[in-house]
Amino acid sequence: MILADTSTNAPQQKAHATATQGTPVAVTTAETTGRQAVEVRNLEVFYGQHKAVHNVSLSVKHQEVTAFIGPSGCGKSTILRCFNRMNDLVRHCRVQGSVKIHGADIYARGTDVMELRKRTGMVFQKPNPFPKSIHENVAYPLRIHGVRGKAVIAEKVEKSLRLAGLWEEVKDRLHASALSLSGGQQQRLCIARAIAVDPDVLLMDEPCSALDPIATKTIESLINELSKSITIVIVTHNMHQAVRVAHQTAFFYMGNLVEAGPTDKMFHNPEQHQTLAYVTGQFG
């Protein structure tokens, strides 16, 4: 569920109230009320003096697929990268406001960023497997998070590769270089790698933009499959992709959250004129 709220004076209570009353912005199904995977409040991101994200508040519902759409430079990737604090690696990047994942404020003092990133997997725009074997790529996060024992690791690697739908294609060459795989296979390997340590949330930053339509289709059905057990946030340039995979969609423009809601509504009956203009291809 996404609760869009761009007005600065909107307190959290109001958002909560809309959720329980089932007003148009917030869609509620009886038993899922209140199960928020990610809650963003008044998020602002600066790159040096430049303000890239303006006071964004939204919620991402547990075990659903949420798409972030918007033209290039609208801040959607920046927001995504706040969810696992990848922006910490960027020089002169400053984050204000709060981001809570399953209730815990990840920008609070003393947050274990390594643990956060373990529980919040990320898939990048370009497939980026390590120049290691297929097996070692998936075993890497297991090893750094203290999983020991050949058999245990082999079992978990197989499980992740099966989940990512790659096992049948690579089971006979697990020790071949990951770079020998095709682009689509590499991206599925990266997904297998990200889900190997059972994250709660999977962040995908335009995961199909470097892939051909067939590989894209495979990844999209994988996203549908994974969303049964993992919360997925996907940034995409491709509006059709949002329609195909996302339960919820949020539209960003110039660092602002314009509107968020169920994908169906966002594409057919949006409340904001800007959203309608974007989804009907009038700009962007």
Binding site: M114, K118, N128, F130, Y140, P141, I144, S180, V197
Partner: protein, 315 residues
């Protein structure tokens, strides 16, 4: 309605002559330069082989300089000993320095200063390293006043505490060579680490790896081949050094395994013998050159084979 005419194949032909001439001249110049470099290299190597091969005999590897027939067993062992000591000191320091510069150093004038210093050191005439080590490790501290004297005195205290002789020694020679290696290895290591794509670092960080884990498990393995090449270059370079050894290891006609003694080396022996009036000795110098070059070649080839990518196993 008229359709646009399809250009005929002839329509794509350019009849301008000068772009092709420029291209042709550039090609000729580049090929010629490459040919000159190769010809000179093979002339030198060929001349060395021609002059040196006659002295190549088993006794060269088994006998000592003052035995009959003459040999240079002690010099071969000495060169290995000196290069070994130099590598033990220089490789870790150089690599750590390169890792610091690439991964941890703050951006700014101080880091830029370190880089510039290393570049200058890499280009410094190597005799200077010999003189520096000579002052701090070889000469008795009483000979110096002021801070040089203090440095010398303290280094002598450390030396005696470590059981290293004051005076000419393999340790002093190894240290001088290590100082030559450090800037070369540091800068190549830094360059190689910088070449590892950001995507690998991001992937690792995104999986929850710490900076150190990313560095040791992803970045350094990716840069391994380049770093090893840099180390090999540095070792080959110091194996051919002569001047700094005159001030430090000095040379020896006897067999030396203990670096506390004056230590012989092929380069220093080549220098001494090539100055001789005796044609037999000069021939020995050529043979020693041939052996030295072959040693570097074999060593480089061995390291390349040993660190070559393992054949990909299927299961």
């Amino acid at each position: 309605m008229t359709l646009p005419t399809t250009p005929t194949p002839e329509g794509y032909h350019h009849h301008e002559w000068w772009p092709r001439l420029v291209s042709f001249v550039a090609k000729i110049l580049c090929s010629a330069a490459a040919a000159v470099a190769l010809v000179m290299l093979f002339l030198i190597l060929g001349y060395m082989v021609w002059k040196g091969i006659s002295g190549l005999h088993w006794s060269f590897f088994t006998h000592l300089p003052l035995q009959e027939p003459m040999g240079m067993r002690n010099c071969i062992v000495g060169t290995l000993l000196l290069a070994g000591i130099a590598s033990l000191i220089g490789v870790p320091i150089g690599m750590l320095c390169g890792i610091y510069l690439a991964e941890y150093a703050p951006r700014g004038w101080s880091t830029q200063g370190i880089r510039l210093t290393l570049d200058v050191l890499a280009g410094t005439p190597t005799i200077l390293f010999g003189v520096v080590v000579y002052q701090i490790m070889v000469v008795r501290p009483q000979n110096f006043n002021g801070w040089v004297g203090h440095l010398s005195l303290w280094s002598h205290r450390v030396q005696s505490w470590m059981g290293i002789t004051n005076g000419y020694s393999g340790w002093a020679g190894g240290l001088a060579l290590a100082l030559i290696m450090v800037p070369i290895i540091a800068r190549t290591t830094e360059e190689m680490l910088r070449m590892v794509p950001l995507a690998h670092r991001e992937a690792s960080a995104g999986l929850g790896a710490s900076k150190a884990e990313t560095l040791w498990r992803v970045v350094i393995p990716s840069a391994k081949a380049g770093i090893i090449t840099g180390i090999m270059l540095a070792i080959a370079r110091v194996a051919g050094e002569t001047a700094p050894l005159f001030f430090t290891a000095f040379g020896n006609d006897a067999m030396v395994y203990n670096p506390n003694r004056q230590t012989p080396s092929l380069t220093e022996q080549i220098y001494n013998y090539s100055q001789s009036d005796d044609p037999h000795w000069r021939a020995q110098a050529w043979t020693a050159s041939l052996v030295l070059v072959s040693m570097v070649l074999v060593f480089s080839a061995a390291v390349r084979i040993a660190t070559r990518k393992r054949r990909i196993r299927t299961r």
